[in-house]
Structures are given as C-alpha cells and as structure tokens.
C-alpha cells in the first residue's frame, strides 16, 4: 500500500487501538491494585477470592456494574445527565495521545515512535484538555437535580480550578528549564542536561504532585467524595456503568498526573544517569530493557505513592484545602518560577 496511507492511517490506528486497550485495562486494574496495596498498608490482604489470588476482581466488578439497573431520576436533565460521565472520562484518555512512553525503535525496517503524536505544544494541550474534565463534574452535580450533588459538584469543581493555577506555575518552571513545550522535547532536554529535572526543580515537583493529588480528588484532599461527610458528592445519583465512568476517570486522571510527573521531572523513559552511566545501560545485561519499562516503573511508583497517601493521612476540611491552595501554593509556585528563571538565566547566560 502507499507509503502515505501506511504512515498516516494504518500505523496511527494501530497505535490508537493498542493504547486505548492498554489504558482501559490498566485503569480497571488500578482499582484492583489500589485495593490490594491499601489492604497491605492496613495489615490485611485485599481481594483474593475471585480468580487466582484475586486477579479477576476487576472483571467481577465490571460485570456487576454492567448488569446494574440504570437509574435516571425523572426530574434530572436527561441529556446533561448522560453527557457528564463522557465529559469526564474522554479528556482523561485523550491526554495520553501526546505522552511519550519510550524512545523510537525499529520494527520491520521502519522507525516507530511509541507515542501517538509529538505535538510541539504538548504541555499546553495536556493542561487544556484536562481542564475540560471539570465540566463533567459540574454538569454531573447539576443535572442530578439534587441539592447535595450540586453542592458536592461545585465544591469539587472549585477545588480543581483553584489547584490548576499553582500546577500551571510549577509546570512553567519545567518549561524554563527545558526550553520546549513538547513532552518529547522535555525528556530530550533532561538527557542533554545530564540531570533529571526533579533535582533543580524539587519545589516545582512538590507543588506539582500536591496539586495533582488535589486535582484528582484524592486523599488528603478528597472531601468532595468522602463517604463520611454530609453530601455524597456529585456522583450520588449515578448508578451502573455511568458511576463506573466517574471512578475510572479518577484513576485515569491519576495516571495522567503520574505520567506527566514522570515525563517532566523524572526523565520519562530515560534510565537513571543516562549519560554518566551510558556504558552500564548499553551493557548486554541491561541493554534489552526498553525505555517503556523505565517509564512504567516510574509511573508505578507514583501510583503507589498516591495509594500510600490515601492510606495514611486524614483529610483536610474544605476551607483549609482552599487556604493551602491560594495562600501557600500560589505564592510558592510564583517564587519558584522566579528562582528557576534566575537560575536558568545565570547558568545558561
């Protein structure tokens, strides 16, 4: 077939299918891993009955949610009620189109890049698309026609919006250090600079990760969805697969934050000390480890840290949460931008 067709249609289609399949499977199994790891933190074993050692638990959960009765309250706004779960999960998955998973490799004589697209404003794309997810929450809370869902949805939306500001500022520090908005470019810049950006940008990383935890409504910032609080949150009226979408979207967002943190601060698919230890990584014992494995390992560490946070900390009250975001993180991130800018100016002339 013609080169153009292959290059612009077939290969991307294959990549999309593979990526979507892997992502959805991973997001479903994240529920299982969360339950297992949380259980291990809590001196117990997690699910271990369904399937060998519990590995079929997500299948059982998915089947259960499929066959659950699909309730739509009669006084709810039907179209918006059905639209909200889509609005929340689609942006979370679309972001993965620009995340680089590994370095280009050759297969059947042509170079294949293990990412869907290398957009030169990838970071901006990511921030913009993930903000659309907030619409899903607001619309979900509002269309349920339930004053507690509305309150929960608005609270959650307020939290997410206020934590996007310091997140953006923290990301600016990375852009300053790398000089490029493209995610592939950021990883390459870390290789060129001989150091992962977490070391000069430790404050930026801290702020980014904290904002990431708040964005995804996870402990210690999970008041909007806490069960022991008054309002059930924006997903009170949802049942069945639509309810599942809200939770899958939360896990997908966790993956997004983790992947971005890996790419921006921890070198993406690069092994530790890529230039210094280049002979080590090229040695026959280790050369077969592809970049994807390093990437996956780092993302896994972040997910474990997410779950670890959930298992350890109490949760903040809503006004305390907003205080931290506005009074502490924004000035800190601005100061961080100033400092990194000065550093880059001095060090690179």
């Amino acid at each position: 077939m013609s080169e153009a067709l292959l290059l612009y249609l077939v290969i991307p289609l294959v990549k999309i299918v593979v990526l979507l399949a892997l992502l959805l499977l991973l997001v479903a199994y994240l529920t299982f891993f969360e339950r297992k790891i949380l259980a291990y933190l809590q001196v117990r074993i997690g699910p271990n009955r369904v399937g060998p050692r519990g590995w079929l638990q997500p299948v059982a959960d998915g089947l259960k949610l499929f066959v659950k009765e699909d309730l739509i309250p009669t006084s709810a706004q039907r179209f918006v009620f059905l639209l909200a779960p889509c609005l929340i999960i689609v942006p979370a998955l679309v972001v993965f189109a620009v995340v680089p998973f590994g370095e280009p490799f050759t297969m059947a004589g042509r170079t294949i890049t293990p990412y869907l697209a290398d957009v030169n404003i990838a970071l901006l794309f990511v921030l913009a698309v993930s903000s659309i997810g907030v619409y899903g929450i607001i619309l979900g809370g509002w269309s349920s026609n339930n004053k507690f869902s509305l309150m929960g949805g608005l609270r959650s939306a307020a939290q997410m919006i206020s934590y996007e500001v310091p997140m953006g500022f923290a990301v600016i520090a990375v852009v300053l250090m790398s000089g490029s908005l493209s995610l592939v470019g950021i990883v390459e810049a870390q290789r060129a600079a001989h150091v992962w950006f977490v070391l000069p940008g430790i404050l930026a990383f801290g702020i980014y990760f904290l904002c990431g935890v708040a964005e995804t409504n996870r402990n210690p910032f999970d008041l909007p969805e806490a069960e022991s609080e008054l309002v059930g949150g924006f997903h009170t009226e949802y049942s069945g697969m639509k309810f599942a979408f809200f939770f899958l979207a939360e896990y997908a967002n966790m993956l997004v934050v983790s992947s971005l943190a890996t790419v921006m601060f921890f070198g993406g698919w690069l092994p530790p000390l890529p230039n210094l230890l280049a002979p080590l990584w090229a040695s026959p014992a280790l050369v077969w480890i592809p970049g994807v494995v390093w990437f996956a390992a780092k993302v896994a560490v972040f997910i474990v840290v997410y779950i670890w946070f959930r298992g350890t900390f109490p949760r903040y009250r809503f006004d305390q949460l907003m205080q931290i975001g506005w009074k502490w993180l924004i000035p800190l991130s601005l100061a961080n931008v100033l400092a990194v800018g000065l550093g880059v100016l001095i060090l690179r002339g």
Binding site: Y40, L41, V43, W308
Partner: protein, 185 residues
C-alpha cells in the same frame, strides 16, 4: 514567622513520619485467617451452641428459672412406677428457642448436676440456617443430635461424646495440680 517555622511548614516531616509508619506495613506478614478453609479455635470457655444430656438432667427447672429471657420450655409430668410405687418426673418437652438466646450462660451456671446437663461451652458457633422459626427451635431430640448445627472440628455432638470437663475452672482452682483449667471435649 521565623525561618525555622517557615521551613518546618514547608517540609512536612511529620507527614513523612506517618508515611513511614504505614509504609513499614507493606512488607510485613499479614495474619489473615482464610475462613472457611481455616478456622480459629475458640477458647475452652467459649459460650457456643448448647449441649443437653437428658440422662443426667434431674428436671429441677433451675435453668428455666435462671434464663433472663425465658427461652427454655420444660414440660414434665409425674409418673408413678407401678412396681416400686415411686414417683418419677418425666420430661415431655425440653425446648430451647435458640433464635432468641443471648448465650449469657446463666442456665449453665444454674444447673446443679455434676457434670452439668446443659452446657454451652462447645466451641461451636456455626448454627446459621436459612429458615429461622423451625430450624432454630431446638427440641430435646435436636439438642442432643445437633441436627442442623455444624460442630467445630474436633467437637462431637452431645449424642456421641462428652461435654467439656471443667469449663469454669472451679475444679482446677480447687485442685491446682489437676493440670489445665479447661479440658476440651
């Protein structure tokens, strides 16, 4: 705010210590007992399912009087033995409504026979049924055959075996060299 205060607010050492406490548990051994494949053994004095021995029972009715919720129903009549002209009490019904029982053990404490004729230290707790009114009302025959009750492994039903020897420790307290204060049945 002093420098020290600022840095201690910025770097949350207390939070890291908390993470350390829970993180240490990730690698520790878990002690979950997988029921129903394995069961933990209740202690010797565990107040479980009733056992009743009509041979030893002297029909004094003290257990029924002691019960706070009056779930022991005793119906008896006096029989005159034609040969010796002696009067005897014969138990018609000795029923326990186990679905209302709170397993307080006052009936066992009140029983005067030695060894007791009604006991609940049988380590057995698996008495669940699907139907409540018939299956959890134990007549004299069912109390002795333990029909419908899953005995704890090692415990034999009253029909076939003995009851625990000294569950309350009184004998052991009286004679301290008698060994363990509670024998299993």
């Amino acid at each position: 705010m002093t420098f020290k205060d600022f840095f201690s607010r910025l770097i949350p050492l207390d939070l890291f210590k908390g993470l350390g406490v829970t993180g240490a548990y990730l690698l520790k051994r878990k002690e979950t007992v997988q029921y129903p494949e394995k069961r933990l053994e209740p202690s010797d004095r565990f107040r479980g399912m009733f056992g009743y021995d009509s041979e030893r029972c002297i029909d004094c009715g003290l257990c029924a009087k002691a019960c706070p919720i009056n779930i022991i129903y005793i119906v008896d009549h006096v029989e005159v033995d034609p040969d010796t002209k002696k009067k005897r009490k014969v138990i018609d019904r000795y029923d326990i409504d186990v679905k209302r029982c709170m397993f307080c053990g006052l009936c066992e404490e009140a029983c005067p026979t030695e060894p007791r004729s009604i006991w609940l230290t049988s380590k057995t707790y698996e008495t669940a049924t699907y139907e409540r009114n018939e299956r959890l009302y134990f007549t004299k025959e069912r109390l002795q055959s333990w029909e419908g009750v899953t005995a704890f492994p090692g415990v034999v039903s009253p029909e076939d075996g003995q009851r625990p020897d000294d569950p309350t420790g009184k004998k052991a307290a009286a004679a301290p060299d008698a060994g363990d204060g509670g024998g299993a049945s």
